[in-house]
């Protein structure tokens, strides 16, 4: 399914632009229509798609890898937004790296696996860059990016310029599991679930306490629900496997919520 929105104001940096011969319009060589392709987790694709389109960027949500062929020449950047490092993510990254020209950046969610290990064995690993794609965060004014040891400066600059054009700040951080915000956030949610499990306070009081006592934008348990408890567990498990430290042990109640997909409070 193609979703495209025209916006002549959108500017594109030189390096993500396609070669001149691919452009049918001679009179406006500087105006290249951006087309960003998105694939991966439905929730993240939805958030990114909405935010990009709001800024007038043409977006293609790839339903399957076969549809990639039709638009491959028009794509100026690709986002792989599968949070969990699974087989499907590997297939997606492989397909993108095989199909897209070497100068097209592939921006991949690198929250549960480093961008280095995702891209190391693929074609042109220098055009991969990690992003802290995590539910509920893309509406905020800053995105975290992580270049791998292979990522070229040119690609990193281009991706930064892409976000500049979207009026989003960027922060370049080390390529490590959880990056910064998802890591801190998941640890807070985990402790909130331990607190709930230990029956220290009701889930509602835990959320109210953090909002009114610590000025949190959301109560941590409600926030976990918005993110999806399975996503929170995926990050914590990845941190645990990466560090082998007890501090990343998932609260048993949180793991159960991840399996059930809901928090019992919502059923009341």
């Amino acid at each position: 399914m193609k979703k495209q929105i025209k916006n002549k104001k959108t500017k594109v940096t030189a390096a993500v632009r396609e070669k001149p011969k691919a452009q049918p319009v001679k009179s406006k060589p500087a105006e290249v229509k951006q087309l960003i392709c998105l694939l991966g987790d439905e929730q993240l694709v939805k958030e990114y798609s909405a935010a990009l389109q709001e800024k007038g960027i043409a977006v293609q949500e790839l339903q399957n890898l076969a549809s990639l062929k039709n638009s491959v020449k028009k794509i100026t950047a690709a986002f792989e937004l599968t949070l969990t490092a699974n087989e499907q993510k590997k297939k997606n990254l492989l397909a993108l790296s095989e199909a897209l020209p070497a100068n097209v950046p592939i921006i991949s969610c690198a929250v549960t696996e480093t961008i280095l290990s995702q891209s190391h064995l693929l074609k042109h690993p220098e055009r991969f860059i990690g992003i802290a794609a995590f539910p509920t965060l893309f509406a905020n004014p800053l995105v975290e990016l992580a270049p791998s040891l292979h990522t070229s400066k040119e690609i990193a600059d281009n991706v930064k310029a892409l976000f500049d054009s979207l009026k989003k700040e960027t922060a370049m951080v080390q390529d490590s599991v959880g990056m910064v915000m998802p890591r801190i956030l998941c640890q807070i949610i985990n402790e909130a679930l331990f607190t709930s499990q230990n029956d220290v306070a009701s889930p509602n009081d835990i959320d109210e306490a953090m909002k009114h006592g610590a000025n949190y934008p959301h109560g941590p348990i409600a926030w976990g629900e918005m993110i999806g408890f399975a996503n929170v567990v995926a990050v914590l498990d990845a941190l645990y496997n990466n560090h082998h430290e007890e501090r990343y042990r998932v609260a048993p109640l949180l793991r159960q919520m991840a399996i059930a997909g809901v928090f019992w409070r919502t059923k009341e």
């Binding site: 905020n140 370049m172 080390q174 910064v180 801190i184 835990i206 006592g213 610590a214």
Partner: protein
């Protein structure tokens, strides 16, 4: 029925509680060891209220009325008619236990004794009295007149009735009350522990700078302040002692292990905003 409030300890927290109680039309007996301490405390309340007047949060008349409701006390026996006594003295278990033993003898037999401790065991403080069912934790946050929350802490032997009364009083003080059991860090200090500690760990791994972590937490996470700004504001000495206390009380559960980086800040005397040097430099150039 007008409830009269007693406060023991006219420091920052005691003054804060007196401030909101007086503004909410309670009569307040503010006790401390001498006139000078009380005078300075009332002066501080006066200053804070004036700022609220300047911000149009309260009227000049509200302020004048409120200040008349604060009675300065230097004899602890004068708290005998109070319906509730808030303790806001030094965060030291022996000091608090001795005080509660004394308050137990002075206070009216139906009075509630509330401790404002943030890290000590309410259960243990209550055990110093003959009426542990009437002892409760009421954990206010600094600055008291700005932060909405009060944690109502149920000690092992605190009665449900005392919990209810304490929550009702907190609400009459214009606060949002949440109930918590008497476990280390209660809710806020426990759940916010990773906000600081994970940020310190990321810094320790050199994944980025502390300025960047603060920027990310605010602009990607939507938090009002970053962890390092907040630690500087609270004071690294205070933050570390809270973290160490939780760690000790949790029998060294590794989740609560304090950060070596913060310890070093304290050892270096870099407490934060209060002495103009912490994670950030606040020295005026």
């Amino acid at each position: 029925m007008a409830i009269s409030i007693g406060i023991v300890g006219a420091g920052t927290m005691g003054a804060g509680i007196a401030h909101i109680a007086a503004l909410n039309k309670f009569t307040v007996s503010l006790y401390d060891i001498n006139d000078e301490v009380i005078r300075r405390s009332v002066e501080k309340i006066n200053f804070e209220m004036k700022r609220s007047v300047d911000k149009n949060k309260i009227s000049d008349d509200d302020m004048k009325q409120a200040l008349t409701r604060i009675k300065k006390r230097t004899n602890i026996n004068d708290l005998d008619t109070c319906d509730i006594i808030f303790e806001a003295v030094l965060e030291d278990i022996k000091v608090k236990k001795d005080l509660f033993k004394k308050l137990d003898q002075i206070a009216h037999h139906t009075a509630i004794l509330a401790t404002n401790t943030s890290t000590l065991s309410v259960t243990s403080i209550a055990a110093a009295t003959k009426k542990p069912e009437r002892v409760v934790g009421m954990h206010f946050f600094n600055p008291v007149h700005e932060i909405q929350l009060v944690e109502i802490v149920k000690g092992e032997r605190t009665s449900d009735e005392t919990m209810k009364s304490a929550a009702a009083i907190a609400e009459q003080l214009g606060k949002k009350a949440v109930q918590t059991k008497d476990t280390p860090g209660y809710i806020v200090n426990r759940v916010s522990h990773p906000f600081y500690n994970e940020a310190l760990k990321i810094l320790g791994e050199n994944a980025t700078t502390l300025e960047e972590i603060d920027r990310i937490v605010k602009k990607s996470g939507g938090f009002k302040m970053g962890p390092f700004e907040l630690m500087d504001l609270t004071g690294n000495d205070v933050s570390l002692s809270v973290a160490e206390s939780i760690y000790e009380q949790m029998y060294h559960d590794p989740r609560f292990q304090p950060s070596r980086i913060q310890k070093q800040m304290v050892e270096a005397g870099m407490f934060g905003k209060k002495n103009k040097l912490g994670f950030y430099n606040y020295e005026e150039k």
